[in-house]
Symmetry: C2
Amino acid sequence: MNIGILGLGTVGGGVVNVLNNNKKTIERRTGSEINIAHAAVKNINDETICSTKNILLTEDAFEVVNNPNIDVILELIGGIDLPKKLIEAAIRNGKHVITANKALIANHGNELLDLAKENNTNLLFEASVAGGVPILKSIEQGLGANKIELVAGIINGTGNFILTEMRDKGRSFHDVLKEAQDLGYAESDPTYDVEGIDAAHKLAILSSMAFGCKLEFDNVSTIGISEIEGEDVSYAGDLGYYIKHLGIAKKINDEIEMRVHPTLIPKTTLLANVDGVMNAVLVNGNAVGTTLYYGAGAGSDATASAVIADLLDIMNGTVNNDILGWKELKEFTNKNNNSIESIFYLRFVTSNESDVLDGISSTLKNHNISIESVIQKKIDGMNTHVAVITSKSRTSDITEAVNNIKEHDFVKGVVKIIHVETLN
Amino acid sequence: MNIGILGLGTVGGGVVNVLNNNKKTIERRTGSEINIAHAAVKNINDETICSTKNILLTEDAFEVVNNPNIDVILELIGGIDLPKKLIEAAIRNGKHVITANKALIANHGNELLDLAKENNTNLLFEASVAGGVPILKSIEQGLGANKIELVAGIINGTGNFILTEMRDKGRSFHDVLKEAQDLGYAESDPTYDVEGIDAAHKLAILSSMAFGCKLEFDNVSTIGISEIEGEDVSYAGDLGYYIKHLGIAKKINDEIEMRVHPTLIPKTTLLANVDGVMNAVLVNGNAVGTTLYYGAGAGSDATASAVIADLLDIMNGTVNNDILGWKELKEFTNKNNNSIESIFYLRFVTSNESDVLDGISSTLKNHNISIESVIQKKIDGMNTHVAVITSKSRTSDITEAVNNIKEHDFVKGVVKIIHVETLN
């Protein structure tokens, strides 16, 4: 099996290293040799993290996808436009393609999978979600007997690192973000990580696998973690919750909801205890019940582990055809965000008057929302914080109620609305 | 695809129910229909938990395995001798076989897999370990790029339920065991669960999958939980640990150690927080790092989920050939238990003399064992408890040291030796 690698950076270099280090183990599993024949790099004079011995190097990635001796292309460049053109060319040349590129799959997966189907090749992307954790294969094969009802994951390591540090050390969002950038966890432009776009890409992929529907990245409702303040982390803790940045996809009847947002989850759940840069995905199936998959969501060798798992499936002929073009896609309606039912955490900054809680609770009651628990705390001579856990309510009711509460004179600016999930 | 089911009890009945309830979802994944054609039951007049409409029922299981129209046999009877004969007959008849029978695979898997290989059929057993959790497929396929270094799992739900209740409610082992029997979690003869034999069956299977070696159930060193006392649970807690009943398989160079025993693990690890009847398996690969897989280890529909996952692999042609006969089995030496290195928890009941701790620590020191942390607690006018966490030491050194300590006059009977694992 001759493979061509586009990109010998963190992931591509990791793939070469793991293939070299674990050569015997991998060949035992495939019964045949893997030959890294051709690789494209940005600058042929740059150092790589892997050996390039016996690999033909080029700066023109199209040379690799057009090389007639190559059977499988590993696209590990990143970005969208160039890798899309390269993958299309590779597929048209009859080659199997493996990619770790979640942005590309989330945005153009439908057309690329159709193209692969037409050309009778495989397009695989296990490494695009949760790094080394074999979550897509687990959903497709291990849980294939189930109607999946819920997928909920910590699928962005940078965001989870920031929230973990904020909780454990009482640090501010901006302080931890800067450290994450210095450590190389976060990009210099951290938008994709902290505004939830990276998690939304991954959720779109998880959701299409779990429910057997087309990729619909544009329908993921996305809120990042940049608005989370130390006070919220602290009040959540007092109320029995940790704040995690979750991607959640739920199927209720024939409606699907997909949302990425900060979420209060009970401290006692396993997902609440997934800390630092680690990833975990909870999958709830109607036969198996709740399952959870945990591991490194990024990193050179961990991501390489998932890329090579796809390669082994191609070599062993164990690619589930269902991934290739979904035999019979289901039609689902995307649930209108306003109609989503959820428990909510609300926080208000109010004046110190004595009837504040009364005003809040009576307004909530007018919208059929009750208060399950509450923390009221005088901050100084001027300000009180009121943090509330609501009953399960329609999002539109919560929005209206909060707007009405804002009209009270006692409300002084900051109002937070954060989802609460019990994950039952 | 015509299937025959041996046994329509908890698991067999669950398979029929899940196949009926999720018919459309499953057919979307396979592209073809599944027909439950023939089933064997103990007594044809007994009620079953599933519909038997359109299923030909018999009390002679050999009728099913000899039915020429059947493509796949699901062996869901339990026991060893009868199912072994039935599976051998089915394989010789050219049928694929799926079983949930861990005792049978652990004891006779090598010869049955050889027979399947000779007859060019598949013998699959995902449901034999950790119920609905797709752990075998994850090791074989999702982590196929890795040299696996460690597998550590909570793989007996009954044992985990007992230990969780003892910890959370301060109940005694015998009290909880009786409740587990009343609830139907534990058999009336609980030996397999509480003495670790069931976990040892599963560990032997996990280990052969992880390391690519033959099944060696006889080489699993096994200690149950029946000797765990409330005091140990409590001191472990004070020292920062929970006691879990783990199956652990480690590969160090070309040696393998397989052991099932109560284990102190740090409270902060995910595995320590897997409670009640739930199962979880931690897998450490040299590329992916630490991963964890969690879910229901038993139950009708959850176990059925794993049985049907194997059926889907057969129907989709996605059976990893590596499972069928292991292309090239590695030779490993089984590590002598005495040479295993581990941290240990030791508990002594001593008299109330003042030099007790001195006597213990100096004897340990003579065997190059140091004390990492200690709890000394006067129980009454006569007795003191001393609980110690040791440095990492050879098992033989610990055994000798403890034997020497026992010779001191201050030691009064009970001495506990329990493994500690940091799972790093």
